[in-house]
Amino acid sequence: MSTEPVAEAAQTDAEYVEKELEHGLTPHRVGSTLMEFRNITLRFGGVTAIKDVSFDIRQGEIRAIIGPNGAGKSSMLNVINGFYHPQEGEVWFRGEKRGNLKPYQIARQGIARTFQNIALFNGMSTLDNIMTGRLIHMRRNMFWQALWTGPAEREEIAHRERVERIIDVLEIQHIRKTPVGRLPYGLQKRVELGRALAAEPELLLLDEPMAGMNVEEKQDMCRFVLDVNEDLGTTIALIEHDMGVVMDIADRVVVLDSGRKIADGTPDEVRSNKEVIDAYLGVAHD
């Protein structure tokens, strides 16, 4: 059996759309390439975390990155949002080669993320936490904000409306005013997703969104991820351990193992790939 990455055959957009049709997916929402990684290599001192990995993310899709522990998934996510700068290789975003930008510059470009270990402001309410996600869209300076009159007030009301729509989508109205530190884990994850959404990203990065959740919370989270993807048209790249979840919601999957890419394709293709089975699926690593 060939160990070549399985999706090599479907490289052009047209072919991809055709492939999607075969799988019964809705083709209209997947567009052209949004982000591309060419031969990325990332080293920490002598350790090579990512070795010569190339793949792309298309507009409107849900792209999963999976792999066993230490495969380089989180490093890859950190490369995508510019926290790490690869030693070799190129990152292309919206058809332009991206230089070494600071994370906040990348956030302004329209990339938002959530964290594996929740990173919310525990003492602040759900509403305020999500409002912080609007920060990059705030136009008035601190002086105006402090006065909170005229234009600043109008601006805040407009931002609040956006936030309320997110609260509605994520069904967290009942915890709007609750300090997030008092919320259970599953809800905190939802709030974090809300904060990332508040930035209105073009590309949303989710680092293990389902980790530590029970079945019901996972189902809810899947629904929210799909809703966000479908209704807001947000492109999503996610890292996830739960294979069931990945296979259910992802359009395409990249499989990493020890920093190398070993497969890339639709869930079905990945599932039947021998190297993937050996490296990840077939071997119990928990």
């Binding site: 309320e164 609260i167 509605d168 109205q173 009942h174 005013k177 629904r223 809703d227 479908e230 209704d231």
Partner: protein, 658 residues
């Protein structure tokens, strides 16, 4: 605000009432609904425009007179509008319980011949689509929340706003037709079909006419002097007749404002924000509210706790005096006023009941302590007794004669009759339903030709208060061997009011005396065990602990003491009881899914235990088969201790049921 004059009764249907409200009080708010964190409001004039657009849209899509339109979702104004819009187009609304599974929904929609369904969201749409092949009459689905529905086939599916848009565009074409249909409506037309969740067999569709609803609404609202300035929070299922009478019938006849919460989870917060003047809740909600308050009080500082308990104690004493119609001393009044300032007022504010003028509870028996707690802090909580078939109101309590044991005097227009032999309560009223939809035999069985309806409940007129008192389901009421009345559920409810008792089953029909099997409340008793350093490995082990038995015995004896003071049920005091080694469970068929005791199943499964209760033994070996959640079965066995308990001399001569 000036009081609107009572209008002529020519407005005999909801659509006509709507137009009258829009004309006479167009600027007053009719609906509020919290969306995106803000209360959105619609005046009667705006409401009329919204409903008209919806009615035109539905007509344009092909809703015909005589059709049925299903409504599935949590309370929101759009659903109430859909009901009246359907009526304008000549169709009958059929609200369906939003949590029913697809199969149940299919039965109701098919039985009612529903052609249009107005639903809340993707969840409900999915349910309908999954049974669509068995709903040949269903032609269009209208939804409120578009989330997740973008990629669905929209050939027969529309967002609600789009239907209204279609309606506004068809104004010129269809307005004459719509006006004709509204004018053709009359009071005897079906107003709504409500499906009752039958405890046995399939649900039945109760057809209520506009007359039924409007006459009953007017009478009951006048009884409580509800006016246009009142407001209420609609949060109970729309498929339940109570919501229809409160949020539709009384709101339309009196013109007051109906508020819908943002989501079911935010109900308590929304209640606080709205501060309704008219409030209905089943006992469980009142209990939940009180529990949340008590937990916070226990966490408060010692001084606050002492202030709280002191003034609550005082309020209870005052309430007892008021109930006994004794006058309060000046000192009592002064202290109550101080309590209002320090405790009762803030507490009512937290509960969202500062403005409640009329509060009702019904559906289940309410614990006297719970009931009196709310009354003592100044919430005018009352009881009512009703049925779907009666358009709710059979009896209700006047403001100045409230008692936790009784359910009130007949609502104006209602006649009551109590069967001499069985004690079953019958009623006749303008609210009596027209028929069970497509079930003439059932209708005949329930309703006599001259309009009397059997409630299925046994009760009697309480001589002391002149109010109706409900004992039990008529079929459950039995006789002890000496011929005195035995009402198991009544006694069980009394037992269940004790926090340590979760569930109880009483026996006594054609027996010498009454016995009880008790399920302790694991949470409450477990808490107690923890505080007293009593270790236990399981429910079974804790249930057989001698100290737990002592504690439950005290509760049973206190129950006996209160039964002894009851003229009818003094003979029903419990002589022997035991604590069961397992919790009664719906999975084992011992309870219904709504947690009601299934007597026959229990009598069968625990036959040897019941025999032992009536034998002389002080212990019994019990072994029952149980079903685990994953479907496996197993056996639970244990030796159960049986205790004899003290009984009390009856306070009065035993009387017979009227």
């Amino acid at each position: 605000m000036t009081q609107q004059p009572e209008r002529a009764v020519t407005d005999d249907t909801f659509p006509k009432l709507l137009l009258a409200n829009a004309r006479e009080r167009g600027g007053r708010y009719a609906y509020r609904y919290k969306e995106y964190g803000i209360w959105q409001s619609w005046t009667w004039a705006e409401t009329a425009e919204q409903i008209r657009a919806l009615a035109l849209g539905l007509t344009k899509l092909g809703l015909e007179p005589g059709d049925s339109l299903a409504i599935v979702g949590n309370n929101r104004p759009h659903f109430y509008w859909s009901m009246v819009a359907a009526q304008m187009a000549g169709a009958t609304p059929v609200p369906v319980y939003q949590d029913s599974v697809a199969e149940e929904m299919q039965f109701v929609l098919d039985h009612a011949g529903v052609t249009f369904a107005v639903v809340e969201n993707q969840e409900q749409v999915d349910k309908l689509l999954s049974v669509q092949d068995r709903l040949p009459a269903l032609r269009h689905i209208v939804y409120c929340d578009p989330r997740g529905l973008r990629n669905y086939d929209h050939s027969a599916m529309h967002p609600l706003e789009e239907v209204q848009k279609i309606g506004r565009e068809a104004e010129a074409e269809l307005s004459a037709e719509l006006e004709k249909r509204v004018a053709a409506g009359k009071g005897s037309d079906p107003c709504v079909i409500l499906y009752t969740s039958g405890t046995t067999g399939r649900p039945k569709g109760v057809v209520l006419t506009h007359d039924n609803i409007l006459v009953t609404s007017r009478a009951s609202a006048d009884f409580d002097r509800l006016t246009v300035t009142d407001s209420m929070l609609s949060y109970l299922p729309m498929a339940w007749v109570g919501d229809f009478i409160f949020s539709m019938g009384q709101a339309y006849t009196k013109g007051f404002c109906v508020c819908c919460p943002e989501s079911p989870d935010t109900m308590l917060a929304d209640l606080r924000e709205i501060g309704p003047t008219y409030f209905f809740a089943p006992p469980s909600i009142f209990e939940r509210l009180l529990t949340t308050v008590m937990i916070r009080i226990e966490d408060a500082s010692a001084i606050k706790r002492r202030i709280f308990h002191h003034f609550i104690g005082h309020a209870k004493r005052c309430e007892a005096k008021r109930k006994a119609r004794a006058s309060l001393s000046l000192g009592d009044r002064a202290q109550y006023a101080l309590g209002e300032l320090l405790v009762y007022g803030p507490l009512k504010n937290v509960l969202g009941m500062s403005r409640v003028r009329v509060g009702y509870t019904a559906g289940e028996a309410i614990g006297p302590d719970l009931f009196e707690f709310y009354r003592s802090i100044g919430v005018n909580l009352k009881q009512l007794y009703g049925q779907t078939e009666a358009s709710v109101f059979i009896t209700q309590q006047p403001d100045d004669a409230v008692d936790p044991d009784t359910v009130g005097v007949p609502t104006p227009g209602v006649e009551l009759r109590i069967d001499g032999t069985t004690g079953e309560v019958f009623y006749r009223s303008p609210g009596v339903f027209r028929e069970y939809y497509k079930a003439p035999e059932e209708t005949e069985k329930t309703k006599t030709p001259d309009g009397w309806v059997a409630t299925g409940d046994a009760g009697f007129m309480d001589e002391r208060t002149g109010q109706l008192r409900i004992l039990d389901r008529a079929k459950d009421v039995g006789k002890l061997a000496d011929g005195s009345l035995f009402a198991p559920k009544y006694i069980e409810n009394k037992l269940k009011f004790w926090p340590n008792i979760r569930e109880a089953v009483c026996f006594g029909h054609q027996r010498e005396y009454v016995t009880a099997m008790i399920n302790m409340d694991l949470e409450s008793v477990g808490n107690w065990a923890e505080r007293n350093n009593i270790g236990y490995g399981s429910y079974q082990e804790l249930a057989q602990n001698g100290d737990v038995y002592d504690m439950i015995q005290r509760d049973v004896e206190a129950t006996n003491e209160s039964l002894a003071g009851d003229p009818i049920l003094a003979q029903c005091q419990i002589r022997r009881f035991l604590i069961l080694h397992k919790e009664l469970d719906a999975d084992d068929g011992e309870l219904t899914r709504t947690m009601k005791v299934r007597r026959s199943t229990i009598a069968e499964r625990y036959a040897e235990v019941i025999d032992a209760l009536y034998g002389g033994a002080d212990r019994v070996l019990s072994e029952v088969e149980v079903t685990y959640e994953d479907g496996r079965t197993g056996k639970i066995s244990g030796i159960l201790a049986i205790r004899d308990v003290r009984t009390f001399a009856p306070a009065a001569e035993p009387a017979r049921a009227a």
